[in-house]
Point group: D2
């Protein structure tokens, strides 16, 4: 029996997820869509044989919908997630889970009260083959305790409306989540360092930035977050342990010998780099919903990312390290 | 509507394909199975909610079956394929298409007479991301005309029953097909060179062997076929063009710095190396059957591989190059 | 005519340089040696056909000596260098130039007063083929302005007497000099971050440490300085520019496919890693002395390294970033 | 005491060796030169403070000359080498030792009669760090017996006067020597395969060619010899053993991330690729002459290369494999 899914938000990422759920993922069917842009939503509904609904709430409450995917405008995420919890439906929410820590806390309270994990947040890197291999090696103990992570997140270029804060909340947030996940521990403090401005970047933007994070056990993470690498979309991560280091694989592109160079292609954007991770993310989510046991990134993970991003932004504005205080992870989320 | 598939042969590779069609591929459902090992087939039928049939012919003729997958014992392939053509059903046949050139010719005749391509042969490498990238670059013209291919096929080790001929017919056959496909042209002659014996290999086996092929336009292909590499499953391919060369990517495993080495894992066998290629192969086959238009490796490709392997074995036994004569490719298969 | 060289200090590094000047470098001859360990110095003198002198001062003042190499105990460096300047002889001084900023300033004053550069400091990385290639690419403008340097200095393990400060003054000092040289600009501030302790390192040692540096134009440099990498001697450096990044090459060791791994050897210590750089350093020094025009690292570079290391140590002890103030670079040293 | 060297032939390679012997190699001095181009030779003599001689024989017989370097026109090599043996002087002869097997045999007879090795042939690859590392690993036994070598020799492009035979005698000859040296055994047979013509190569030239060699124990060597790679000067070599494979390192150039590519520079010609090997070759030759004990490639190695090249050319012209018969290696050369 296919899992019947309602999708709220039929913009670019929403349509890509609908295509994925239809053509790539097995065992799922998109049956309901809505969007504030009614025309787009209706066209998508028609194309995929789904039903159009006037509002996200209608999608959530529809008897035809088993589980919900939220890909709408960021500020609407928290409200839809809370509604899903109220109706006891599984919900996959693209990051961010919410735009304020307070909203995240509300979600955590509601979900805890409901008594079963219903929410998964779209941190797709956890489903990337490379990051999973890193985590497996860390957990094997082969390199001893991790001591440092050196990472970088580089976009080829940024959209005109990109802001200094979005570097942290949209791009850096993936790094916040993945280091937390790789290390299996919480952050104690964080800092953002400003860097000499790239002349090819917007004048209004601080770009690049360096995020520094420190975990409770003292692991240091440094992340270059660079919206104007000028050369491609490039994600790097090296975990330094007591006995060795491990590095995230680059995509395995063809080795070309040409024009006095040995070279490998670098992708231009995230959609090529992480397409497999997205596919795996949704397949595993569908499987886990059918098995009634969520395993992916939780509301708690969404909360940590939100609080950490807030601290980093404050640090940048104030020019010093900030304490990150998320309290103890509730048993419910362990 | 899911494509209803009957699988003939529920050995290791058959069961893996059933799992794949069920859990990974979208739009397909395995509804019928049979095997000479009745117990196994019944268990598989039960596990996947399929129906057990007494014979392969029963599977083929079942009204519930839209398309057939053949993963039975090699010598039975040709017979089942011919039966599928007779009933006008699409059939996916694991390599080899047949064990003799004569059988391949019979299949080609029958399929041509039927008037529509029904047969796809299991040369999964054509669905590997790396080989596809090589083909794209060749076809882009970037490296000019291909002039040579240097390749190697290395197994970690071989099963005790492996024979000198099987090196060509089971392993080398993938190389025969993929070079033919990459270059888009037919072979003119071939030769097998014997090599100093690996002491870790069986005494009864000539291992490794080197296959030399020459296409009609003069492209030279050399392939090390090595059943006892001693270190892993490793597939290498470099295409040398007039202006540059391109090399098949290695799987993108983690870079580990440890114990005075920078190292990357090499897989132990083909199932890890080509798992994605198998997944893609079946998804595209299911899609093309549903669209009533086959695009994968054809009976003609199966025939070429068979004739080429025969010539190579004869060359090895006679100690000189052999002509490979497959005639002109029929329009039907272009 | 060979340049006649006197060497003060015949410990390990001194003897290695004497061998280098004798067997590798052309146009030089070691004619004089001294050491507080008289026996060793006499043996070395005999082996290389040089004359033993009772004191470093005697070496410096000898009429037979054209130029001096100082490889004695760190605290004696400044005194010998000043004596060389007084006698107007060229002097190659192993790093550090001096152990205090004050001594460096005295040397700069004396040399400036003398009116010609006489002093070269042993920052051998500037002669490494890889770093030189990085500098060439930076200066070509290909990657635009450099914005960040990510570097690491990893030793396999450390000697028992290694101290927390030595991590900065002995190992980190190379990184301080090389980033300064690559970027061609001075530092504005620096900070040391402490990191979770490596359990394989000494309890008395803070290890690893992270050095953060910021240049006057805002370039950020982060350097992992790790005395207990556990796996080898490994020097990494990536320069991030506005349009691309460049990375220091690893030594070009053999690619070994073995035991399910593709691997490259990593050296165990600096002597293998930088042997060519040392050879080039001394050949170029000898050539420049003969041409009466020094080009290598100057007293000013030694001073900057000293002041920067002091600031980093202070920063670590005080837990915050420290200003680095070296004033304007005198014309004399440009 | 510097070794006093006479150089016969002051063309491009001769002048480069004179520069090397003067500026790079320690313990040597070029004191005598001659060339059929008298003007050039006189200029070189003046530049390096050497004496000009009217003839190569005069250089050889000069009392001021301890050892001779031959970099004259190929057909004159054998005569000068024989003259050196007659006078009992060490001689370094650029490859080829001679242009006929008969001349090589004469040299071997004369040298054997003289009773001490005097001749070294300029196979500089044996002094390349990478090939030496390959040989060390082979001799360590780590990869078991070598079974195959896959190699390629690629030039960016060729000079207009380049001929089909020169591909073997000028470029392929390095591959003939290095495989022989790596494996430590003689060849039994060889064959040249012609390949589809590169349209960017000369019409009069067969280019590329593939050399196939088989040693007495059955090791197979295949070498692409490609005068028009179109992209750079590229030397590749993989040795396949029973338990693993080893591959010659590429030059360690900077990793550049730029324009959607990760790339490494490939050199344009041999002078960059093998500059270190040439330096090491001459330093070791000078050292061994001073120690009165030659260790580099011998007349016997020159003879094997000559006989093998002849057999390969004959094979290409006749279209089949040719036996290579060099007899037993004399004890004198072991």
């Amino acid at each position: 029996m296919d899992l019947k899914i309602g999708v709220i938000g039929t913009g670019g990422i929403g349509r890509d997820h609908i295509r994925r759920l239809t053509d790539v993922v097995t065992g799922a069917k998109v049956v309901a869509v809505s969007d504030i842009n009614v025309d787009t939503a209706k066209k998508v509904a028609q194309k995929y044989g789904a039903k159009f609904y006037e509002s996200g709430e209608d999608v959530i409450h529809s008897n035809e919908v088993d589980a919900v995917v939220i890909t709408s405008w960021d500020p609407t995420h928290a409200g839809y997630v809370l509604e899903c919890i109220k109706t006891g439906k599984y919900v996959f929410c693209e990051k961010p889970l919410a735009t304020t820590a307070k909203e995240c806390e509300d979600i955590i309270k509601a979900e805890t009260k409901f008594g079963k994990r219903l929410v998964q947040v779209g941190f797709m890197r956890r489903f990337d083959r490379g990051y999973r291999a890193l985590k497996n090696i860390i957990e094997s103990g082969k390199i001893g305790n991790p001591l440092m992570i050196h990472a970088c997140h580089r976009n080829l270029t940024h959209i005109p409306s990109h802001t200094t804060d979005m570097t942290i909340t949209n791009s850096g947030i993936h790094e916040i989540d993945i280091s937390h996940w790789l290390l299996g521990e919480d952050y104690e403090s964080g800092q953002v360092l400003t860097v000499k401005q790239n002349r090819d970047s917007s004048d209004k933007l601080l770009d690049p930035q360096i995020m520094l994070l420190k975990t409770k056990s003292g692991v240091r993470i440094d992340v270059e977050v660079n919206m104007s690498s000028g050369y491609g979309y490039d994600i790097q991560c090296e975990v330094v342990g007591e006995k060795g280091t491990i590095r995230l694989p680059d995509p395995n592109t063809v080795l070309v010998r040409y024009n006095c160079q040995r070279s490998y292609e670098i992708y231009e954007d995230w959609s090529q780099r992480f397409i497999e991770a997205y596919d795996t993310e949704f397949q595993e989510w569908v499987n886990s919903v059918k098995n009634d046991k969520l395993a992916g990134p939780s509301s708690w993970d969404g909360y940590i990312a939100c609080v950490t991003a807030d601290a980093l932004i404050k640090s940048r504005n104030q020019g010093k390290a900030e304490t990150i205080n998320v309290g103890e992870q509730p048993k419910f989320y362990k």
